[in-house]
Amino acid sequence: MATLAHPDDLRRPNIASADIQLPAVTSYEQVDNEILAVLKPTKAWFASLMLAIACLGLGAFSWIYQIHQGLGVAGYNPPVMWGVYIITFVFWVGIGHAGTLISAILYLFRAGFRTTIYRAAEAMTVFAVMTAGLFPIIHIGRPWKFFWLIPYPNWRLIWPNFKSPLVWDVFAITTYLTISTTFLFVGLIPDIAVLRDRETNPIRRKILGFLSFGWRNTEREWRHFARAYLFLAAFSTPLVLSVHSVVSFDFAMGIVPGWHTTIFPPYFVAGAIFSGFAMVWTIIIPMRRWFGLRHYVTLNHLDASAKMVLFTSLVVGLAYMIEFFIAWYGGVKYEQDYFWNRVFGQWWWAAWIMLTCNMILPLSLFSQKLRRNPTWLWILSIFINIGMWFERFVIVVPSLSHDVEPWQWSSYMPTWVDYGLLIGSFGWFFMWFLLFVKQLPVMALAEIKEIIPPKMKHTHSHGGH
């Protein structure tokens, strides 16, 4: 099936006009049939699910072992008392940013390329934030005490310290998880109604009827739905920006070299969008190929998202450079020594993985040929995922291991328990995502139908869409 109908489109994707069309998709029936065909389980899907569950099993075993043996089995080495768990927490929160960015911010900006990718990105957000939320609980060592972070009058009437960034985090992450789940579910209601109406199994039909809340596709429902969706997008937009800003405060509020800097909030937000888009590619590019959805996620869509990745990569690169510049220009010897140690000393290998993956390789996206090459984009997405994990490693570990007091400088080496939980987090995330793609539409049926010209009796009636 042709991806592009007009040869002119081939080299002229246009984000700003939101004019990304789906010329190979011509009818509502085609949308339903092709997207709902993804729901049929395949052997490859089962194999992927088993692999994800195996990874999750490794993570679960590592966690149980850590609970039994104590936090000492993780690689913490004073003063490096934040390690893989906090790095992975920040990594997954960052991954979770692209979903709400694509569904909310790009919705408000009327960017057409979001239409076919936002559902997968929203689901990715929910599962990524679910994954991220586990890590502070794992990190505290005594997971049964995690509820102490929640502000409620417990049996000793102790309230948390509201001036602590860690408590801000609890509010920010809880709000983000709640709102991103709500946003995903509200958008799914009309699509679940489509599933309900096609379902022949009475039990499944009943379940889908319950989940669709008796949605009937009336004009009244659509009117309130559209208004609510707009307001949810308007709420989610500053929320996306605030959540990673709050996460960055976990570091920026500490008087530690490399952390105590005012550029952290925008730097973290740009990095989160950058890594989130990379994860969208990691998921979407194989999906469009395996499920025959290349005429929904066209090269124009990939090209437009590649420009977004290139832009955020440049912002992140600028932030890295500003950090180095301010360390030199500020004249504080601890900062200077720290940054030298980060790039040319003890942690050079981690810093150069970060710089190569996040700054140098994405420059390839200045080439339109590479922006329209799905194989390269997928490979690049893996590099970016690795680079962004190492960015958080470079932020967390070198600062703690090389702070203002030389007598306590040390090193850090993750153990198999750390790696087990890191691998387990990917298993947990992909298990949920794989289950999602086989239960619910991975693309928004109603929104895709909106961009297809409707059936008309007269050619020029009522001005069209």
Partner: protein, 163 residues
């Protein structure tokens, strides 16, 4: 009287004529939101925004209140620092505003759209979620014939009476 249409413009024309002839309340079904239908039906503006505003204001007040009250109730005294202070509490005000505002928006949508609904009630056809449009006209018994003729004249692929 229920009419099922396969074309958008036919549906719009039928709505316009039914409204012009004051044939009673209309419920319009569509597989996807369409501005053409909204213009033809000319409904009042959605009231969801009131729920959003009330929810957001309640949220921001609660967010600030919980932080200020909690700090004063269990004071963590640090030399030279205020017990409760506005700037960091903006985080609580903002986050709780978003949470309560968004949830009340969804509640408002459900309330105004009349969902959750346990049954499909009269006048629903599974074709409306696939690709067809529908008009359910709640007219008086003496107008039934005229409503049927309007729906057929504008190209309804099926017209049926519903009770």
């Amino acid at each position: 009287m229920m009419g099922v249409f396969s074309e958008l413009d036919s549906t719009v024309e039928a709505i316009e004529e039914l409204k012009q002839r004051k044939m009673g309340d209309l419920t319009v079904f569509s597989p996807t939101p369409r501005h053409e239908l909204e213009h033809a039906v000319h409904p009042p503006m959605s009231g969801v925004r009131k729920f959003t505003l009330i929810g957001a204001l309640s949220g921001v007040c609660f967010g600030f209140w919980i932080a200020i009250w909690g700090s004063n109730y269990w004071p963590l005294v640090v030399g030279g620092k205020a017990i409760s202070t506005w700037l960091p509490y903006v985080v609580f005000g903002f986050e709780v505003m978003v949470m309560v505002g968004a949830l009340s928006t969804v509640f408002g949508m459900f309330y105004l759209a009349g969902i959750p609904r346990l049954t499909m009630t009269v006048g629903y056809d599974p074709r409306f979620s696939r690709g067809s449009y529908g008009i359910f006209c709640e007219c008086a018994p003496e107008q039934l014939v005229e409503a049927e003729s309007i729906l057929r004249r504008h190209g309804a692929v099926e017209v049926r009476g519903e009770k």
